[in-house]
Symmetry: C2
Subunit: 165 residues, 2 copies
């Protein structure tokens, strides 16, 4: 048994987020269909396109690492998405639905922000300059998406939820 | 069947984070035992005490809502913690272990930051002024813990992981 290194840890975490991104790619159209406001539908559709680009960037990082792109079950994202689906079921037809969908999406974004922040700092240590740039680009996109969701919550989803209360 | 309101959504999310906090309380001593550096052990022990206070704040928020404190299974935190346990098993004895533990803890913090941020904004809409103050206090603590973990990663855990590589 050989001792595991930071490069092993980086690779394992890369597989985790690769699985997560592909799962998110599948979940977003369902969230867009469920959303009540046009703004939120559009935001989920836009983020789906962005996610496609993020998956391609991860494939490049695998290549830089000399590994083939392969995911491994990420129980965290499975749980986060399952909770989002529960909200969709339980709050279907409720004026609070969009507020719940935004909250579910922000839990997803924060998971990604944590993982990309970690991966970026490890890539720096491993002197993988090109990987740092790729991971940083996605990290910026995830942070921007999180801020956009906050604006959407404040501008539309939350007021709709409370006005009807 | 009555239409679900923002108050229902707030209550459901409160039950989710209440379960999560109690699960984290149980996970932290295990993470402290696994940590290799004294600094990281101390950080997990300190955060355990903080978590105890956060649970008490949540009990106060339940009271303000006129509900008894009760959790409901949060698949997200179950998944996040399961991934942390996997790191503990797979990287036991590796110089990269602490880097992995910090990453796992930051995934937990980000989940909490997302949930408390959402709960705080909903409490504002519901004009639950005292709940806003309680949730904000915890949100500040979680953000500070996340920053402390980043400092620990940069100062100790990551250098240890890379020096041995």
């Amino acid at each position: 048994m050989t001792t595991k290194t930071l490069e092993n840890l980086f690779h394992e975490t890369l597989k985790d987020i690769y699985y997560a991104e592909r799962k998110i790619l599948k979940a977003l159209p369902k969230m867009a269909r469920a959303a009540q406001s046009e703004e939120l539908k559009a935001a989920f559709q836009h983020h789906r396109e962005e996610t496609q680009g993020q998956i391609e960037r991860l494939q490049e990082v695998f290549e830089l690492l000399g590994k083939s792109p392969r995911g491994k079950t990420c129980e965290a994202i499975d749980g986060i998405i399952a909770e989002g689906e529960e909200i969709m079921d339980e709050f279907k037809g409720s004026p609070a639905l969009d507020a719940g969908l935004v909250a579910a999406a922000q839990a997803v974004e924060h998971y990604e922000i944590a993982r990309y922040g970690t991966l970026k700092s490890w890539a720096e240590l491993l002197k993988m300059t090109n990987a740092v740039a790729l991971l940083n680009q996605t990290l910026d996109e995830e942070s921007a998406t999180d801020e956009k969701l906050t604006a959407l919550a404040e501008g539309t989803a939350n007021p709709t939820a409370i006005e009807a209360a």
